[in-house]
């Protein structure tokens, strides 16, 4: 219960941040050339000034900017994100349709990066300054410097064009109708390359942090005690070192949640996945500012909820946090 109230307090503290972001981006978008009505008129193939004026009145765009901001925030409280003139649907339903691929992609990439980062970090730290460490650390540096979209393209060339093992893009095969387990397998095969592409840079970061934090913990007194009482090295690592060494890794998940969401914009564009990131890109190209603002809101919300979960995990790993709170 204590954990929940502590994390809940952090959650409450992020509400002003959320409001700040919305106000900031809303005001920023006022500088954008053209508004929703302009976009709609362009879609309709032009129209006279009277129609434009009427439409602006209908959408409340003739009001002063503070009044529009007030209206927008009040609609947000009722979870109404406005209307997307490009998609001809409420923004909320456009976003909800696009959310599952992104969440799936982020979860898969995060698990991939976390698991292998942990594994390689431990291997590197165990053989510090010997060849496994040098190899892993060098690979980590190279992965960190690799532009994700480029890695994605090269992976398509190798695995989809030459070897023809995996599909080059899309979320599922739309040529055939599949159900149940076959559909899941189909989606999974479409997500392999995007997951690797998005996860690569995070794998590099995680393994570096894990290695450093393992080296730090391995030097602590209680580890020497564990060794002195005759535990073998594997036991020392799995039972004693890992739990403490994991703390910085968990912190990093929260810090990197936003970066990962940003990275999925690029990766979804490379693999033409119909996700939130691709929607963000499309709404910039199509000047669909209502949708863009909605995406800003939803992505901030996503980052905040990831951090909430991270707080819970953190408290579970390190009981001292709740004891002092």
């Amino acid at each position: 219960m204590r954990i929940l109230s502590l994390a809940g307090r952090r959650l409450a503290a992020s509400i002003p941040t959320l409001v700040l972001i919305l106000i900031g981006v809303f005001l920023l978008l006022q500088f954008a050339p053209g508004d929703t009505v302009d976009a709609m008129m362009a879609q309709m193939g032009g129209g006279d000034a009277a129609t434009a004026k009427e439409l602006r009145k209908f959408y409340g765009l003739d009001l002063s900017i503070p009044a529009q901001l007030g209206n927008y925030l009040w609609r947000l409280v009722r979870l109404d994100l406005g209307f997307s003139s490009i998609y001809g649907k409420p923004v909320a339903s456009v976003i909800i349709e696009r959310l599952p691929p992104t969440i799936l992609l982020m979860t898969a990439s995060l698990s991939f990066a976390f698991f292998f980062g942990l594994l390689f970090g431990v291997i590197a730290a165990r053989g510090v300054n010997r060849w496994p460490d040098t190899l892993i650390s060098t690979l980590g540096l190279i992965f960190y410097a690799t532009p994700s979209f480029w890695f994605g393209l090269m992976a398509i060339v190798v695995f989809s064009v030459y070897l023809q093992w995996l599909p080059p893009g899309g979320f599922e095969d739309i040529g055939t109708v599949r159900t149940g387990i076959w559909r899941m397998l189909d989606i999974a095969s479409h997500l392999v390359l995007p997951t690797l592409t998005l996860g690569l840079i995070f794998l590099a970061i995680y393994l570096r942090i894990m290695r450093a934090s393992m080296l730090e913990v391995l030097n602590l007194d209680y580890v020497r005690t564990a060794r002195a009482k005759g535990l073998d090295e594997t036991r020392v690592v799995t039972r004693h070192v890992l739990r403490n060494a994991l703390l910085p890794m968990v912190t990093l998940i929260g810090l990197q949640a936003g970066t990962m969401l940003g990275g999925s914009v690029v990766v979804e564009s490379v693999f033409s996945l119909p996700g939130l990131g691709r929607l963000a890109y499309e709404s910039v190209v199509q000047r669909d500012l209502n949708t863009l603002l909605g995406i800003v809101f939803v992505s901030a919300l996503l980052v905040i909820s990831v951090n909430f979960v991270v707080d819970l995990i953190y408290a579970r790993l390190d009981p001292r946090i709740t004891a002092e709170g």
Binding site: S14, L141, L153, T259
Partner: protein, 276 residues
């Protein structure tokens, strides 16, 4: 000069420095090797690398010399990376210094703003900025700088928090120095080294951000940039994959060089933490 000696003792740091010097040399010599406009048509489209001595790295979809674009791209990447990093570090230092020095409500307000910037995915904010202000070289550079300042700000603030009550600061205060003088003349020089080292991370990320933006065709299309070229090569990826592959390697090498130099500096300046 111990730090310099320590720097050159690390093979990784030296390798990074060599790579960085090569990239800088490419940027400087671009006009000398390729006096023509890199975006002008040079020959037949889609010539494979090493097949025609006139175009060492081949030509792209519309017959422009890839090697020339790589050389001029080095200029753009270093320019955007460098200027955006300078902007980010400058904003970061100002915000972090005031927040850390004054504490209280100043700290509260500034950190709330920093948090807001960190909560919003930086690439999404970059998209918003480009959507609003357009994608010329100047706006893209400023936008990349504007989304990259929170981390240096937090670092500077942490340094200021640990330094602001040291004896030399109290001595300065007793001498009647003003707050601004204390911040910029006394504390900042001591807080600067880790922030400068961190600048290498900011620069690496800035180069990657710009190339991703250019790949999505949301950066300036009128300059020869590596990201633009990768985006173009995507249209002919199935067969002429080299159009995308070559500029990608250039980005990889540049970012790798910047990170290696940064890490080398870090190890040289903090020898106790070496190997961490």
């Amino acid at each position: 000069m111990d730090a310099v000696k320590r720097y050159f003792r690390s093979p990784a740091a030296v390798a990074g420095l060599i790579l960085l010097v090569i990239v800088i040399a490419m940027a400087i010599s671009a006009g000398w090797f390729y006096p023509r406009d890199p975006l002008a048509l040079a020959g037949r489209p889609l010539v494979w690398p090493f097949s025609n001595p006139r175009f060492l790295l081949g030509t792209d979809n519309s017959g422009r010399d890839i090697a020339a674009q790589i050389f001029y791209g080095a200029r753009i990447s270093l320019l955007i990376g460098g200027v955006a990093t300078a902007i980010a570090i400058l904003i970061g230092i100002l915000v972090g210094a005031f927040a850390g020095y004054y504490g209280g409500w100043v700290d509260n307000v500034l950190m709330r703003i920093t948090e807001a910037f960190q909560t919003l995915p930086n690439f999404v904010l970059l998209l918003v900025l480009v959507a609003v202000f357009g994608s010329t070289l100047t706006t893209v550079t400023i936008a990349v700088g504007v989304v990259s300042w929170p981390a240096p700000a937090r670092l500077t603030r942490a340094e200021f928090l640990s330094l602001r009550n040291r004896e030399f600061v109290q001595a300065g205060r007793t001498l009647g120095m003003k707050n601004i003088q204390l911040i910029f003349r006394e504390i900042l020089p001591n807080a600067l080294p880790p922030v400068i080292v961190y600048a290498s991370v900011v620069m690496a990320v800035a180069i990657l951000l710009e190339s991703a933006l250019a790949f999505l065709r949301l950066s300036d299309p009128n300059v020869a940039s590596w990201g633009n070229l990768i985006g173009l090569g995507r249209d002919v990826l199935r067969v002429q994959w080299y159009v995308s592959a070559i500029p990608g390697i250039a980005i990889l090498v540049t970012v790798l060089a910047v990170s290696l130099v940064g890490q080398g500096l870090n190890d040289a300046l903090n020898p106790r933490l070496k190997g961490r």
